[in-house]
Amino acid sequence: MNQSLYEYCLRLGDTPLILSQRIGEYCSKAPHLEEDLAITNVGLDLLGQAENFLTYAASLKEELTADELAFKRKEKDFRSFHLVEVPNIDFAYVLVRQFFIDVYHNLFYTSLCNSKDETIAGISKKSIKEVRYHLQRSQDWIIRLGQGTEESNHRLQVTINELWMYIDELFYDNEIDNEMTKEGIGVSNREIKNNWFNIVTDTLNDAGLSSPENIPYTLQYGKDGFHTEYMGYLLAEMQHLPLLYPDAKW
């Protein structure tokens, strides 16, 4: 039970952690200063969520810290979604990736607020307030750029088509999800799938964009320990100092 809860908390923490790392990379590269502020704010919220869930995961083990989980774990032990590992190719990637995750987080945390696990429910209640704002912002941008110029519409559509292959993973439940859902601690991802598609499709329609056909890609998923080729480089950078100076405290 404790092992499953631990595993579950890792996946709750890893996706926001890796996404905040990507957002950190984007620092000082936004189209204008207001957006630099806004996206960094989102990154900060996500980093806070990651820290909360990883701190809880660490507390379930003896002598383990959230920092060790973030900075000393091997790639195979990370549980993040492929989607958040995708690099910041341009603002369209940063935005569409964020929009897909924001819709997911809103639905997911809304249900997770009712978790029987008080810590998880507490972190979710705090997080839902943040991700509501994130969604408002990314949804607004999707509509603005979808209805903006021909170029902005085209760029968004190309990116949506490219990232669509990663969304299946959001709704995949493995045995840990099933166990946690059964215990009333976790949330079934399958059950939020329809709502996710409804929100995303409606938004894309409003923006003059379209949802690609749902093609099943043969990916092996993050929560089973499989990642994109990008992940190794991301971790090499993020974990560089603690691995180089294993005895140091920061």
Partner: protein, 313 residues
């Protein structure tokens, strides 16, 4: 004659410590000086995001990553306040950015130095922000209202940054041998660029006298530099670090530290664009701006469509 009277009334207001507001009459040179100074200050905040952003993806703990991210976000916010304050003088932000990209506007030269280790993030917070605060605290009393109010807000956040930077130095100085070396190396590299931040000695400062008379500046470059050195040396010695200046010593009778000769050759080289990072910093800003052009155009097109729908409705 008209102007002479206006100028007299203007100086009387300054002398009585009454703030000058955007719609008030002001001498053209006062306006130009402020446009130069405030936009330079805004650019410094924005370009300053780069050397720190260089370590954001490699911050060694969740806490330090959060603090650094929040700090960089603050810098972006400071840039915004300052661009807004500068815009009250009748120039649009797009124009300020154009001047920056053309090399006509400057930013603080200190950001042209590279951040080579994590300790540099500590040194920037402690020394660079520490020097900036000394200057900015003084600028809270500047005569131009919007600039003064921006400074009050900025100072509150900067003092937090300075403490966080010093905290990194304390942690490193009390850490492993390698961490201590990292801290000392960062101090060695950042000390002189930090004290150069206050600009040339008073005798060689082109803009100083008029700026002091108009209370754009409240204290001279050398006075501010001395304040910074006096408060910083003790902080460094307290954590067992030494300063890369053999002439640095306490002078009992003056109650100040004496310091060695500043390498003004290096300073002017960096100001003129030949520092280690000038090309990189400017290219980064230009590239991001150009790459974001389609986003800004998309947003403008959308806003126009919205407005025309509202008009016809």
């Amino acid at each position: 004659m008209e102007n002479a009277k206006k100028l007299e009334a203007f100086q009387a207001k300054i002398d009585a410590d009454i703030k000058i507001e955007p719609k008030d009459w002001m001498p053209e040179k006062y306006r130009r000086t402020l446009i130069r100074q405030i936009s330079q200050h805004a650019h410094s905040e924005v370009i300053g995001m780069q050397p720190e952003g260089n370590w954001l993806t490699r911050a060694p703990s969740l806490r330090s990553k959060k603090i650094l991210m929040a700090k960089i976000q603050d810098e972006a916010g400071h840039g915004l306040y300052l661009y807004c304050a500068a815009e009250t003088l009748g120039i649009k932000r797009e124009q300020f950015l154009e001047w920056l990209h053309e090399g006509k506007a400057k930013y603080s030269s200190v950001f042209n130095y590279p951040t080579l280790t994590w300790a540099d993030i500590g040194a920037i917070g402690w020394l660079v922000d520490g020097a900036a605060i000394v200057n900015q605290v003084s600028l809270q009393g500047t005569s131009y209202g919007p600039y003064s109010r921006a400074m009050v807000k900025i100072c509150m956040e900067e003092s937090f940054h300075q403490r966080q930077g010093y905290e990194i130095m304390v942690t490193l100085a009390n850490g492993t041998k390698e961490q201590k070396e990292m801290a000392q190396d960062a101090l060695n590299r950042w000390w002189w660029p930090s004290i150069m931040m206050f600009g040339p000695h008073d005798a060689d400062s082109a803009h100083s006298n008029q700026s002091l008379k108009w209370k754009i500046k409240r204290e001279s470059n050398d006075e501010l530099r001395q304040k910074f050195i006096d408060k910083t040396v003790e902080q460094g010695e307290h954590i067992g670090l030494s300063f890369p200046d053999p002439d640095l010593k306490w002078n009992k009778s003056s109650g100040h530290y004496e310091y060695g000769k500043i390498n003004w050759n290096e300073f002017w080289n960096v100001v003129k664009g030949y520092g280690p990072g000038n090309k990189k910093r400017l290219a980064h800003h230009k590239d991001a701006h150009e790459e974001g052009s389609w986003v800004r155009q998309g947003a403008i097109a959308y806003a126009k469509k919205k407005r025309s729908i509202q008009k016809t409705a």
